[in-house]
């Protein structure tokens, strides 16, 4: 129980997809954040101020890393 033995039979390929699905879910949640919340605290808005793009870029990078390795 404490050692997660009940997950010992999960194939490594399936375990990898647990991580990849986690990144996809986080990405979907990020996409749902309202723009008003993203831009709060800015007087002038530019396209690169959209922090959702930043977050999705970081998630894409880490998704590829975990897909490859």
């Amino acid at each position: 129980m404490l050692n997660f033995d009940w997950l010992a039979d999960v194939p490594i390929g399936a375990a990898r997809w647990v991580f990849l699905v986690l990144f996809i879910v986080i990405g979907l949640v990020v996409l749902m954040i309202p723009n008003e919340y993203i831009y709060a605290g800015l007087e002038r808005r530019r396209w690169w101020h959209n922090l959702k793009l930043w977050a999705l870029g970081v998630l894409a990078f880490i998704f590829v890393t975990y897909y490859v390795f």
Partner: protein, 495 residues
């Protein structure tokens, strides 16, 4: 050993850092300037400061040493062990902390729960930082002595004098802006070593081919996901439950030295952006400090101690001048860790304990002076206690273990405090104290309870679960704060 040109590089670097840090003295007129840089910091500086504060000279050697032994799985700590947590911090916790005008994380716990929770959290961090200072001073000086032949006390006194000067007078602004330079030096030194290393091992394909050809013990050296029954401390279940869900969040959301920088951002947007920018930079840390460990498997096979991998690689590969730059990168790691601990501990002491319980209602100048004196006292304590750690070889692990007792429970209390307005002061205190107790018990009986050698990832998960369940259970039987008191302290969708 250092040559003449290496010494020039190092001395120019040290003088530059000291002058840059001291320059910020003229901007410090109030306690807000000292502890929060007057809330003027831009996202790019904060993000760089977060990354460089998180990796010290010892981590440079330790991570490459672990990569030598265990392979790429060590990279989990900077990839999945940082990115999701930093996004959660950026979009949920940091904006609420910033808008609440906080100076410290325990201050949030005090407002959300009560002073008892605040004091437990604050005292724990102060003890950790204070003892860690001496340990890091000594261990880093021993490392620099082995690497470059510098006398141990020269390293300690020189770094203490330089860091002390700009931290005492320049406050958080000096800490963060010197960190920006330290990060550039650290990334530059690391990148040069990796590029030269790749040339020697025949590029990425050559590295993979030569490492995996060394036999079955190395066949998983390029796998991030390791099976549950792995002999390493990094089974995928531990990485997912212990690291991703608990330790990473506790570190990125509950660590004063990390979050204090975001609280000093010049706007809410900059506070959020700093964490995401930091997450982006953090993804390159494994490339700089982990890959040299993998290269050493090819270039320096059969080392008895994996921690020798990076120092030996530097001696083997780097010409004069570049050795000096790499040495400066080690110093950058040391100084950026020390300055963060000094400033954060001074903030915790002044804001959570002194101003709250010892002398309320004094002038702002009084608290500024107290903050500076606390920094001096901590620095002297760190230098004075540094040789003590040489008499207790296990003290580094002991202090880190002490902090790991605390990570799971504090995150459970932070999480419920942020998302569940029904969480009560008694619930928070029970979750924090009960969770820490569970951690201590799990460690005490780890030989009987766990199958892997160092179960710190599992301990953090189960202590989080204990803190979470205890907080909810006790909260259901005790009285919550009225809604009016929770304004701005609990996350609400659409607000």
């Amino acid at each position: 050993m250092l040559t003449g040109i290496d010494y020039v590089v190092v001395i120019v670097y040290l003088i530059g850092i000291m002058l840059l840090g001291f320059y910020f003295k003229k901007f410090v007129h109030s306690s807000k300037d000292f502890f929060l840089a007057g809330k003027t910091l831009p996202f790019w500086a904060i993000g760089m400061s977060i990354v460089v504060s998180d990796i010290g000279a010892l981590d440079f050697v330790g991570i490459s040493g672990q990569a030598y032994r265990y392979g790429l799985a060590v990279g989990n700590f900077d990839w999945i062990g940082s990115v999701p947590a930093m996004l959660l911090a950026a979009f949920i916790f940091v904006p609420i902390f910033w808008k609440a005008g906080l100076y410290t994380i325990p201050e949030y716990l005090g407002r959300r729960y009560n002073d008892a929770v605040r004091v437990v959290a604050s005292v724990t961090w102060i003890i950790f930082f204070a003892f860690n200072l001496g340990i890091i001073f000594w261990a880093s000086a021993v490392l620099l002595n082995a690497l470059m032949g510098w006398p141990i006390w020269v390293s300690i006194l020189l770094t203490a004098a330089i860091v002390g000067l700009y931290t005492i007078f320049g406050g958080l602004a000096a800490v963060v802006m010197t960190d920006v330079v330290q990060m550039v030096v650290m990334f530059g030194g690391g990148a040069i070593l990796v590029i030269i290393g790749f040339e020697h091992v025949g590029g990425w394909d050559g590295l993979v081919e030569k490492v995996t050809a060394r036999g079955p013990a190395y066949e998983n050296h390029f796998d991030l996901i390791l099976p549950v029954d792995t002999q390493t401390p990094f089974p995928w279940t531990g990485i997912l439950f212990g690291l991703t869900f608990v330790m990473a969040n506790a570190y990125m959301i509950g660590n004063q030295a990390i979050v204090q920088r975001c609280l000093a951002a010049k706007s809410e947007w900059h506070a959020k952006a700093s964490m995401i920018w930091g997450a982006f930079l953090k993804m390159f840390i494994p490339v700089l400090v982990l890959f040299p460990g993998l290269m050493a498997i090819v270039l320096l096979p059969d080392l008895e101690d994996g921690d020798q991998a990076l120092p030996m690689l530097i001696r083997t590969l780097l010409p004069p001048g570049l050795s000096g730059l790499m040495f400066a990168a080690f110093l950058a790691g040391l100084m950026s860790s020390i300055d963060s601990m000094l400033n954060s501990t001074a903030t915790l002491w002044t804001k959570d304990l002194y101003e709250r319980f010892i002398k309320k209602g004094a002038s702002d100048q009084h608290y500024l002076t107290v903050g500076r004196l606390a920094t001096v006292a901590l620095l002297l304590f760190g230098v004075a206690t540094s040789p003590v750690s040489s008499n207790f070889p296990g003290i580094y692990v002991a202090v880190q273990t002490f902090l790991s007792f605390f990570q799971g429970p504090v995150f459970s209390v932070l999480l419920l405090g942020m998302f569940w307005k029904r969480a009560t002061p008694w619930g928070g205190l029970a979750g924090l104290v009960g969770g820490i107790t569970v951690s201590a018990l799990l460690y005490a009986f780890k030989g009987a309870l766990f199958t892997i050698e160092d179960p710190f990832l599992y301990v953090s998960w189960w202590s989080f679960v204990a803190g979470f369940v205890l907080t909810i259970t006790v909260s259901l039987f005790t009285k919550p704060h009225p809604d009016a008191r929770l304004g701005g302290l609990v996350f609400r969708i659409g607000k």
